[in-house]
């Protein structure tokens, strides 16, 4: 298991390749990558991500351990950035490795659903002088109930 909470950018492709190279006997790899979307108005200047140092790593580890206990996974990678990001920058990624594709897919979806609503990150959109904390969506909370 590899969990990183960091300010600096990372390279999705390089991380995907490094994760794949570490596996043996795993037939299925799934990655999810979250990218800063511009606002509907096309005027996003920055997305600022705040987190709770200390709790963040623990919360992600708890979520990852729960995924390992529910599915037959060979490995998990989670990288999540904080700080100032711009449109089209990579915010975060998860990767799962498994012998079978259903485990890899479900493990990754489970990680994403819980990272979304149970890891202490908060996003703020800044466009010009306007700043808006991104509101949690009911559908994200609802997504947890399927697991």
């Amino acid at each position: 298991m590899d969990i990183r909470v960091q300010e600096q950018p990372f390279d999705l492709g390089a991380e995907a390749n490094a994760f794949a190279a570490k596996q043996t006997g795993m037939g299925a790899l799934v990655t999810f990558t979250g990218i800063v979307r511009d606002l509907a108005e096309g005027d996003l200047d920055t997305m600022e991500i705040e987190h709770y140092p200390g709790m963040t790593e623990k919360a992600i580890e708890t979520i990852a351990n729960e995924a390992l206990s529910r599915w037959t996974l060979g490995d998990i990678l989670v990288i999540h950035r904080y700080g100032k990001l711009h449109a089209d920058e990579v915010i975060m990624m998860v990767a799962t490795a498994a012998r079978h594709r259903a485990d890899a897919f479900q493990g990754a979806e489970f990680l994403m659903d819980f990272l979304k609503s149970r890891a202490p990150f908060w996003k703020k959109e800044v466009s010009g002088t306007a700043t808006d904390w991104v509101a949690a969506k009911d559908e994200d909370e609802d997504a947890l109930s399927r697991w």
Binding site: E50, Y52, A59, K116, P120, W122, K124, E141
Partner: protein, 81 residues
Amino acid sequence: MDVLYFAWVRERVGRPKDKLETDAETVRDLVNELREKEERYAAAFADLDALRVAVDQELTDFDAPLKNAREVAFFPPMTGG
């Protein structure tokens, strides 16, 4: 006890952290104590449904006991991922 604030809770309170001596038995007692402290705390804690709380870095609820707690954090629903 360290009391931490994140996101718009931090902005409303106007600082990221308080160090408090408190006899509050539960998170809810602590919230009531803070609300009476100053108007900006009352504003930050106006609607508990819009808030989440962690005690010693574990998510919990407003009825959680504070006995032996070293760190309490208040924040809006999380928006990671």
